[in-house]
């Protein structure tokens, strides 16, 4: 892939925890509008790689480039660069992580006010727009505890989208959900992909990966084991480890 058209690049990103290499020299280019699905066994470094992208984990080595802005992570990253980066990269977690003491609407509006400096009205208008998009406008005044897991995750997606990110990271967004609630979240993600959002999705949902993603990446031991068009990787995996892993998740 041509680097000029990639919106996100990782170069030799490495992250070690107490002598254990969680991400071991990963390089990756993601094109604008591309949807990348990431699969791999537990402990293979999927989450850590994702968290390195928005610097929730600061890599020990390597560079991260978002839309032409380089972040050399071996030095210290200034607070300004960090905020810039995080405005452009939204993240959705397995455990939703809504703020339980705020209503759904406040959850989505507060970051807009504090990070983008939007007025309360402006922020609320944008929040309602997004709630409508994820099908939850009727939940605006509810507290998260009064929402199902699937609804909470859709609110979390709206909260991230409200900052108008260019890239969205998803870390197993449906793993904590019952299958039918997972489906409503996947539907929202599918819709988001259709609007041209650049997405990196760590998931065990093979069907979603096969039908929505442009590329499937298989990770093992902190490295990218193989990657390619989802159908190709799924139908004709090049590595024995990929085959073992795929049959393990298909058998579930």
């Amino acid at each position: 892939m041509n680097q000029a058209e990639s919106i996100l690049s990782l170069r030799d990103v490495e992250k070690t925890f107490a002598g254990h290499c969680a991400v071991d020299g990963v390089s990756l280019d993601v094109a604008r509008g591309e949807v990348v699905a990431v699969i791999g066994p537990s402990g293979s470094g999927k989450s850590t790689m994702l968290r390195c992208i928005n610097l929730l984990e600061v890599p020990d080595r390597g560079t991260i480039t978002v839309d032409g802005t380089d972040l050399d992570t071996s030095g210290t990253v200034s607070a300004r660069d960090l905020t810039q980066l995080r405005r452009r990269v939204g993240m959705v977690f397995q455990s939703f992580n809504l703020f339980p003491h705020m209503t759904v609407l406040r959850n989505i509006s507060l970051p807009q006010e504090r990070v983008l400096g939007r007025s309360r009205d402006e922020a609320d208008r944008r929040s309602m727009e997004l709630l409508e998009r994820v099908g939850l406008q009727q939940k605006a005044d509810a507290y998260p505890a009064k929402c199902s897991g699937g609804q909470q995750q859709r609110v979390a997606i709206a909260r991230a989208l409200a900052l108008d990110p260019e890239i969205m990271l998803f870390d197993e967004p449906t793993s904590a959900l019952d299958p039918e609630l997972g489906l409503e979240v996947l539907a929202v993600m599918r819709q988001l992909a259709d609007t041209g959002m650049t997405m990196i999705v760590v998931t065990h949902e093979i069907h979603f990966a096969a039908t929505v993603a442009d590329r499937l990446i298989v990770m093992a031991d902190g490295r990218i084991l193989e990657q390619g068009p989802p159908q190709q990787v799924l139908d004709d995996p090049q590595h024995a480890r990929t085959r073992t892993f795929l049959s393990a998740i298909k058998d579930r």
Partner: protein
């Protein structure tokens, strides 16, 4: 005989109520000062500000380790030797504030720590500043978690304020003692004083319990 006790009680009551008012005042002031200091200490500890951590830990350990009675005596009799002489009232408030700060900083710190890490990460990932994360996410929830324990402690410090009688502060227990000394009816007057303490602490305890139930409404799934 019974009616004699009650007429004595009626006679003593105004003085005891004056004493109760002093107890409530020193408790209230100590709580305001001590909680503010406790919150600052808790935030310093939570933020792991190195400059502040060490003195903060020292203060907390001394404040919690030292019996309140010793703290009162040290402030009242000890500070003059370093050139600071305080009125009884001020000495009591200072000593109880120190004890309050030490205990409540630990209570608040535990509350702040109980806010799930995932929420802090989400706030970080949204690009919120450290200050905003504290202000909008950690402090409101941490205080809410700490509140029942803090209110319980407030009741305790009200009881502890009776130790100020040892410095001669005219609070409830001192008033009861001096009435006792004048009438030799220690048991009767102490019973009445005890009832007055209970008249504050028991309803306060109920209120705390109700409050606790109300607060946990949004937070349970």
């Amino acid at each position: 005989m019974k009616s004699a006790i009650f007429s004595d009680w009626a006679e003593w009551l105004p003085r005891l109520l004056d004493g109760l008012w002093v107890s409530v005042q020193v408790t209230g002031l100590s709580l305001i000062i001590g909680l503010a200091a406790g919150l600052l200490l808790a935030l310093a500890a939570f933020a792991r500000t190195r400059l502040l951590t060490w003195p903060a830990i020292l203060l907390v350990e001394i404040g919690r380790g030292m019996p309140a009675l010793v703290m009162l005596q040290l402030v009242y009799f000890g500070l003059p030797s370093v050139g600071l002489t305080l009125e009884t009232y001020a000495a009591v408030v200072l000593a109880l504030s120190l004890t309050t700060a030490a205990y409540t900083s630990e209570i608040i710190r535990a509350g702040l720590r109980a806010v799930p890490d995932g929420e802090l990460e989400a706030a970080d990932a949204l690009g919120m500043s450290r200050g905003d994360v504290m202000r909008f996410v950690v402090i409101p929830q941490g205080l809410r978690i700490a509140l029942p324990t803090l209110l319980g402690f407030a009741i305790l410090i009200f009881q502890i304020s009776s130790l100020a009688f040892s410095l001669g502060l005219p609070e409830l227990l001192s008033q009861a003692y001096s009435i006792g000394a004048a009438t030799f009816r220690y048991l009767d007057v102490l019973t009445l004083a005890g009832l007055l303490y209970l008249a504050v602490t028991i309803p306060a305890g109920w209120l705390v319990a109700r409050f606790e139930r109300r607060l946990s409404r949004h937070l349970t799934t």
